[in-house]
Structures are given as structure tokens and as C-alpha cells.
């Protein structure tokens, strides 16, 4: 069950809630395999993609997810919105809210921006990535990918490698994976892996090979070139000398290890092409699962909520959304 109004992060979200979202996503995967990739679940609903940061993958994935549910989608990016004219986020949100959208997906460079929106608008807010805070749908698609390959998440060892300090993907995954019973290792240089991460439940390792030992899952984070400015690390070359995921490094992990990357990849910087394109890589599964997870999030927050509100308590127990959606088609 997922009774929350918004999806702002995975911190504090229970194992049952996460499992419900993953199960729902699993049931939506099939839609994308059809010839006609559309169900009428969110017909007549409006979903706004409000993006204050550049994004191709996440925005496209949300847009496809919404369209496969038959919602109308509007994309607003910071350059085309009023932000450039100096309008505050709160005012933009109020104006959007006045047009009665059914959900707003927001990506913003400031941590907490979706929480601010949630205080000012009525409709559900989905966090599409806020600063260095959370990126819950990314973590959900990672969890779904891991679960589909490994059968379950509990008991796995997951090594997350790279710029953990600035990574919202790492945080959401840490919260989600820990809740689902996995061990999480944060692997990177001390400048990018502050010791307080241990308080949040991560094991901290500086050495790549040691960090990958017996890992069931390796999750590589994107290194932002502009951050490797000589402060956190001498140079990109120096970084990749120690942390680029090569075949040799992968050999330290379990034989059936899977490798994830949230994209976009810097080939030859944090991941070698051999590994990225190799047999362990499940990166393309992640992208496919991304659509299913976002369909699930939209369905749970928008479609299902309406069903609950109109049908009363019975609808809450309705486990599989697609049966009804498919029947209506």
C-alpha cells in the first residue's frame, strides 16, 4: 500500500510501500511490450514536467510513462518558464496549480524544492531529483532492476561507487536498499565520501577493489566533470586511475554481479566501455524499468487515489491495476 500524497523521497518509506510500488511497476512492464503501448488509466488527467535542470532521460521517461497511461503531459523547463524572468518557485507553483494539473514532476538544483512545492499546491508532487538530496524514481527503477535479476533485495551487497557526496541517486538508493534489507557500501575517495554517511547506514570504503569484494551489485555514479576541478580530486584522469570500473575491478565482485549506472555515462572515466557494454551490465534494463516505475508512481499517486476517493475502501485492496485498465480498453 502507498497512501502518501507525494513521492518526495525514499527516506522513511516502508518496505511494504516500496514493494507495492515495485509490484505495481512490474505489472506495468507489459504495457510497454504491446503493439499499442497505451492504457486509459489516466485519460483526462494532466501531468506537468517542471524541470529546472537539464535532463533528457528522466524527463523523457516520465513523459513516456504519462503518455502510456493516456495522461496529457506538459513539459516546462527553466529556460522556457518564468524562472528566467525572476518568478519564484512558489509563484510558479501557484500559477501551475491554478490550472489544476493532476500531478507535478519537479526536478530542481536545490534540495528540498519539491517539499516547498508540496506546501503550496494541492496536487501530488513527484520528486524528479532535487539537488544532492533524493531521486526516488531512479532508486525505484534500480531496485526493480536488482529485484528482477536477483529475485530479492534482502541480503545482497550493493557497492555504490563515485561522487557520493553530491549524489541524489546514491542517497535514494541508500534509503531504499537499506529498507529492503541490503548492505550498502559507499566507495570513493575521502573527499567524496564523508564519514557521516556511516550514520545513515552505509559502509564506507575508499579502495575500489576492496569496495567491490563479493558485491552482488555494482552501481556506478556519474562523475560530473565540472566538480573535478582540483578541489575534490586533482583531475579526471587521476580520478579514473583509481575509480574507473575496469574488467579487473569487476573480477573482485561475485561472479553473477550486475552493474548499474544511472546515466549519462562518461565512458573511460568512471566506467570502461568493455564493462558498460559487457555481460554484467543491466544498464538498458534500468532504462526500460524506468518507464514502468514512473507509470507506477503516476498511477499510485494520481489514478489510484481517484479510485480510492470515489470507490471507498474496497478499491484500496485492489492489487493489480492493469486488469481493470486492460478491461477498459
Amino acid at each position: 500500500m502507498f497512501e502518501r500524497r507525494h513521492l518526495l523521497g525514499l527516506e522513511g518509506v516502508s518496505a511494504a510501500e516500496i514493494a507495492f510500488l515495485l509490484d505495481t511497476a512490474e505489472s506495468f512492464k507489459e504495457v510497454s511490450e504491446r503493439e499499442i503501448k497505451k492504457v486509459p488509466t489516466l485519460r483526462g488527467r494532466t501531468v506537468v514536467n517542471l524541470f529546472y535542470e537539464n535532463s533528457t532521460r528522466t524527463r523523457t521517461s516520465f513523459e513516456i510513462a504519462a503518455k502510456r497511461l493516456s495522461a496529457d503531459t506538459i513539459n516546462l523547463s527553466a529556460s522556457s518558464s518564468s524562472a528566467q524572468k525572476g518568478e519564484t518557485l512558489t509563484d510558479t507553483a501557484r500559477n501551475l496549480a491554478a490550472m489544476r494539473p493532476d500531478a507535478i514532476i519537479v526536478r530542481h538544483p536545490s534540495a528540498g524544492a519539491p517539499h516547498l512545492l508540496a506546501r503550496h499546491v494541492d496536487c501530488p508532487i513527484i520528486n524528479g531529483g532535487d539537488g544532492a538530496h533524493e531521486h526516488p524514481t531512479q532508486a525505484l527503477l534500480d531496485l526493480l532492476t536488482i529485484r528482477s535479476h536477483k529475485g530479492q533485495i534482502a541480503g545482497l551487497t550493493v557497492a555504490i561507487v563515485g561522487d557520493l557526496l553530491h549524489s541524489r541517486v546514491a542517497r535514494s538508493n541508500l534509503f531504499g536498499l537499506r529498507t529492503m534489507g541490503a548492505r550498502v557500501r559507499f566507495v570513493g575517495p575521502p573527499t567524496l565520501v564523508p564519514p557521516e554517511f556511516a550514520d545513515l547506514g552505509a559502509e564506507l570504503v575508499n579502495d575500489l577493489h576492496e569496495g567491490l569484494r563479493d558485491a552482488d551489485v555494482i552501481m556506478m555514479l556519474r562523475i560530473q566533470r565540472e566538480r573535478m576541478n582540483g578541489r575534490y580530486f586533482s583531475s579526471l584522469d587521476e580520478y579514473s586511475r583509481l575509480y574507473c570500473l575496469s574488467g579487473e575491478a569487476v573480477a573482485k565482485a561475485r561472479k553473477d554481479v550486475i552493474i548499474l549506472h544511472p546515466g549519462p555515462m562518461n565512458r573511460g572515466v568512471e566506467i570502461s566501455s568493455t564493462v558498460a557494454d559487457g555481460p554484467y551490465s543491466v544498464i538498458m534494463d534500468q532504462v526500460t524499468n524506468g518507464v514502468a516505475v514512473r507509470m507506477a508512481a503516476l498511477y499510485v499517486l494520481v489514478g489510484r487515489r481517484r479510485e480510492i476517493e470515489s470507490a471507498g475502501e474496497d478499491a484500496v485492496n485492489e492489487p493489480v491495476p492493469l486488469r481493470r485498465a486492460a478491461a477498459a480498453e
Binding site: 519564484t88 534540495a111 528540498g112 524544492a113 516547498l116 539537488g131 544532492a132 545513515l200
Partner: protein, 444 residues
């Protein structure tokens, strides 16, 4: 509301009178004439045959203390009148029992020359509420490059110099400021923050900042600056006052400097005594301040340092900001909170907690800041101006941001239950705040 000659007497009877200088308390009456305290004694009405003839404040069961001295206030005028004016800020002050405020120089224009100092004093005089003591800038435009006009500003009335809000990053400039300030016997008030270490952080660096994904300011940014400035104060043999001290490490440095004979004093803000970085949860911008709210360990160290005397003063760092500057992304939100109207109850809370006795707690907000700024205020004795506050120590109330008299409502204590409140505030014997039923009328 100036009193006529005939009215120029006021009696306060039966209150528990706090003498923060002697750290004593006793029940007595106070007679005020022509704005000054002329007698403190038992049973003045009978002795002087004044019963029924002089306006009287019945203070039985109440506490009478010197008007509070808040040595760290941003009044925002000139330049930011949309946040606060000298009139609204001093109105909030007297409502909180504060009769003297020292106001920081980060106005627009900056208080870095005598004409701005004089303007502030004129506006304060026109407001006729709390006394206002301007603090001059250390450097021209707070730019940290060139010393401001200490002599001219001192002649105009400044009581200290500070680039508060903007740390003086240039160590040599800080040294020279400490040397020059000695000529006028005024302290240099230190906003101790190494900007290169703070590096755009918006809250305390720790597990909480990592969780929230907000950029942190390590406690070391304060520790290294306090260490540097204490060394410079030793070199210059000047008086260094550390504003809003917030880290356990900085406290240790202050202790060591004191024992080495360096003239260093320190203040703490109520929010650092009562709140930690946990208050940021949910991206609460009213928990965003500089220095940031720190950990529980730091908070406990601050309380211990207040009790053992390492910290001399509680001062608010009253920092009014418009709603629009707080109702934004946490990264974008302005730093600081208002504090004038909650200083007294939050200080009394230290007494309720058993951390300080009442006279010591009152000293931290009266005689101690007055001593540091060399003000005549903060005393309760015959001959001094009658700047007084009558406190109802048992008055229970709930802070409501919308009820604050400050022009800005950015309190960190909205909804907090308080015990103790300024019932009547007097400046120069004039009643400038009165919460009694039929308040002002009854006193006349």
C-alpha cells in the same frame, strides 16, 4: 508621551529587584523621579508619604530588572526598511523588555562613516523607544579591504566595530582593526567564519546535511577563525568579542585565550542554546542562520560555557527578513531569525532548567553586554536612568509569529510555549510597553 513635571515620579512597589552587577535579589520598592532611579528601599511609600499620590506599579510577585541590553541586533535601517525599521525594531525591543540595542553595520549604505551613524541615532531619537547604540563597520562597505572611519564614527556615537555577516578574511586588516579600536576603547566584534571553508554551505555540516543533501558548513570554519582572531587579539592587545559563538571547538579556544590573559569576550544566541541542526528537517528556512544551528554536543557545550562564564552574554542576532526571502528554496533563503521578543523568556528558561540562577541569567542580558560595550545601561542602582523591565515570571504564553511586533515574522520559535514575559518596560522612566490590564492608564 513625555511626562509633566508633576507626573515625573513613578513608584514600583513590592517587586523582586535584581541587581545583576552584585548578582543579588531582594524585595523592595523603587522610586523614579525625572527619569532616574532616586531610591531603592523597603516601604518607600510610607517613608516618603507618597501612598496614593504617585503613579504606582504594583510589582508584588513580579521581578524588576534593569532593561535588557541586546548587543547584537540588525535594525535594517537605512536601506532595508521593508524588513525592519528603527521604529519597528525598537518597538519589538521594548515589547521584549529590551531597552538598549546595539545595531549592526550591514545596512545600505553601510554604517562605515559618521553620517550614517548620526542618521541611525536621529531615527532612534525620533522613535523614542529603546536606546540605540550603532556598531560601525570594520571595513569600508564591509569589503574587508580598508579600515572604516573609526574616529569619526566613534565621535558620532558607535560603541563597537564589526563587519558582522561578512567575516574579515584578511588577517592583517583584522590585526589593524584590533589595534585601532584600542584608541577608542571599543571592542572589535568578530563574525568568526572562514569563508573558504564555509564555501557556500547553508547549514551545519554533518549527518543531517548529508541526509538532506544540503551543502554544509563545518564547525571548523568557526574554530579556525576564532583561533586566528584570538591570536591577533593577543598580538594587538585589543579587545576581541566573538559574536554568536556556536561550536564546542571555538569555546575551547576562548577558554585557553582567557587563561593566557587575552582580552576576549563572547556571546551566544538563544537559538544556538535551544535548537540544533535537527530543526532544519523539512527544509525549514526559519532554521537557516549563520553560524548554522549545530549538533546537540555543541549545544550542550554552549550551555555549559554560559554557566561557567566562558560565554558572557546572550544576544539575539535579531535578523528580520521579509516572508518572500524565507518562503523560497532552502539554498536561496536568507540567513537569520528575529529574536528581540523572545530573548527574555528563552533566557528565563535557563533558570527554569536550573542552569543559571536568576541574577546571573539577568546579568547575561543586562550588565554583561553593557560591560563589554562600556554602556551605562544594565544596572539597577540609585542615580542611573530608569531603564527597567517589570517581568511577570509566571506569565505563560505561546509565541505566534503573526503576533510579533517586529516587521518581520521569521522566528525559529513559532508555537513554543514560554514562561515569563516583560509586563512593563520603562526607558528614562517613561512607560514604553505595558501589558497590564488598563496598563498605561493605571500608571498615570
Amino acid at each position: 508621551m513625555s511626562l509633566t513635571a508633576q507626573d515625573a515620579q513613578l513608584l514600583i512597589t513590592g517587586g523582586l529587584i535584581i541587581d545583576p552587577v552584585q548578582r543579588t535579589q531582594r524585595v523592595a520598592d523603587i522610586l523614579i523621579r525625572d527619569g532616574k532611579i532616586v531610591a531603592i528601599d523597603e516601604n518607600i511609600p510610607a517613608q516618603a508619604k507618597l501612598r496614593g499620590k504617585v503613579p504606582t506599579i504594583d510589582a508584588a510577585g513580579l521581578v524588576v530588572a534593569p532593561g535588557l541590553v541586546d548587543m547584537h541586533v540588525h535594525l535594517r535601517e537605512p536601506g532595508f526598511e521593508y524588513k525592519e525599521t528603527i521604529a519597528t525594531g525598537t518597538r519589538a525591543a521594548v515589547a521584549g523588555g529590551v531597552t538598549s540595542v546595539a545595531c549592526m553595520a550591514n545596512t545600505k549604505p553601510v554604517n562605515d562613516c559618521p553620517s550614517v551613524t548620526r542618521y541611525i541615532l536621529e531615527r532612534a531619537k525620533a522613535a523614542q523607544l529603546a536606546r540605540v547604540h550603532p556598531i560601525g563597520a570594520v571595513s569600508v562597505s564591509l569589503a574587508g579591504e580598508q579600515l572604516a572611519e573609526f574616529a569619526g564614527m566613534h565621535e558620532a556615537g558607535i560603541v563597537a566595530v564589526s563587519d558582522d555577516g561578512m567575516p574579515v578574511m584578511d588577517a592583517e586588516l583584522m590585526r589593524r582593526a584590533l589595534e585601532c579600536a584600542k584608541m577608542f576603547d571599543i571592542p572589535v566584534i568578530d563574525h568568526a567564519e572562514d569563508k573558504t571553508l564555509a564555501a557556500g554551505g547553508v547549514m551545519h555540516e554533518g549527518a543531517m546535511s548529508l541526509r538532506l543533501g544540503l551543502r554544509g558548513v563545518p564547525a571548523a570554519a568557526e574554530d579556525v577563525m576564532v583561533a586566528r582572531d584570538v591570536a591577533l587579539a593577543g598580538l594587538a592587545k585589543g579587545h576581541l568579542h566573538i559574536a554568536h559563538i556556536s561550536s564546542a571547538g571555538a569555546l575551547e579556544t576562548v577558554r585557553q585565550a582567557r587563561s593566557a590573559g587575552i582580552h576576549v569576550t563572547a556571546e551566544v544566541s538563544p537559538h544556538h542554546l535551544w535548537l540544533t541542526d535537527a530543526a532544519v528537517e523539512g527544509y525549514n528556512t526559519n532554521a537557516k542562520m549563520n553560524p548554522p544551528l549545530r549538533t546537540e554536543e555543541d549545544r550542550q557545550a554552549l550551555r555549559a560555557a554560559l554557566a561557567d562564564g566562558t560565554i558572557d552574554v546572550v544576544a539575539t542576532d535579531h535578523a528580520p527578513h521579509h516572508k518572500d526571502e524565507k518562503d523560497v528554496e532552502f539554498d536561496q533563503a536568507a540567513h537569520g531569525v528575529v529574536g528581540l521578543e523572545t530573548l527574555l523568556p528563552l533566557t528565563l528558561r535557563l533558570v527554569h532548567d536550573g542552569l543559571l540562577d536568576l541574577p546571573t541569567a539577568i546579568a547575561k542580558i543586562t550588565s554583561e553586554p553593557a560591560r563589554i560595550l562600556r554602556l551605562a545601561a544594565g544596572r539597577l542602582e540609585v542615580g542611573v536612568p530608569a531603564d527597567l523591565v517589570v517581568i511577570d515570571p509566571d506569565h505563560e504564553w505561546v509565541v505566534s509569529s503573526e503576533s510579533l511586533l517586529s516587521k518581520s515574522k521569521n522566528t525559529a520559535f513559532d508555537g513554543w510555549k514560554m514562561r515569563g514575559r516583560a509586563l512593563v518596560t520603562l526607558v528614562d522612566g517613561r512607560i514604553v510597553h505595558d501589558l497590564r490590564p488598563n496598563g498605561v492608564a493605571a500608571a498615570r
